[in-house]
């Protein structure tokens, strides 16, 4: 379908980022961004920070980064 060329500027992903299909009582068909700092699935918008898309940087732009 597409290779999402709009995120071609992505850099290093966050070291706290994992992709999981389940955690606790939550389960999804497709693996989703999961933050190991707050132990929660990440909002789709925040996943752009996790993946360092569009010049975003986890250390600078994430309020949970440790």
């Amino acid at each position: 379908m597409t290779d999402d060329t709009d995120d071609a500027d992505g850099g290093d992903t966050c070291r706290h980022l994992e992709y999981r299909t389940e955690a606790g009582e939550r389960a999804f068909e497709t693996a989703r961004a999961y933050c190991t700092v707050v132990d929660a699935f990440v909002q789709p918008m925040r996943a752009d920070v996790c993946n360092a898309r569009y010049g975003l940087d986890p250390e600078r732009d994430c309020e949970w980064y440790e």
Partner: protein
Amino acid sequence: MSATGYESYLAGDPVVVTAALTGGVHGKEANPAIPESPAEIAEQAAACEAAGASVLHLHARRPNGERSFDTARFQAVNDAVREATDDVILQNSTGGTGAPLEVRRNSLRTDPAPEMASLDMGPLNRYDRLTSENTRHTIDELAREMDERGIVPELEVFNNGHLNETFRLVEAGLVSEAPYVNLIFGGGTLTPPDPRNLLNLVDQLPEGSPWNVLGFGPHQLPLTTMAVLLGGHVRVGLEDNVYYRSGEPAESNAQLVERTVRVAEELGRPVATTAEAREILGLS
């Protein structure tokens, strides 16, 4: 007679219902009913059309639910929605916190172009370290491209300062003299959700501008109801509110549309057909 006041309510003018189906901020982690794939979005689009929505506000996502600004993904959403619906107005989003202008243009470049697109009117803070910048340069560039492609903008007024920017765009000739304005209420640097603030904003609109109300979360129902009484139009959906009532997640976008339609009709305003919506919103 005023087209944007109580007289409009008394006249029983039709109310345009917009359904904001998915958004790009939260997803199934917030409410499993939020549609993310083109097929899911199309299915809920059809249900919302059947319930009375004539405008569908659309975002695109990757298979894992994350935001996408890729034209091909917007194309897939647009195609699926058109296939599943009879006659609705597609309104692609150009919003994108943290995303550059270059990718935010992509939703305007589907074939055919959407009839409408959203146009954020200025900065918005909702997070500690992320902001929606929306510089004047970005706004003007998006407005120009919409104009070139025959796309009617919906001006997203996050707070009353953005009405200054609305008049700036009108005076610059980048939008029509009576543009369609969406008044947005919520947290951060959005307009504080309060009926008095809605009354004040309506008084400050460009003369003749049709207008819409978007209230986040618990403010969706009361402020859209107030819009019905003041001759405005309404936007509901899971992008803006994932609950039907406090503590009870909404089952679907259509559930929220159905409630809004019931409210409008009980109050004496019929829900606009798509043809009426096109006339109200200045679409060809």
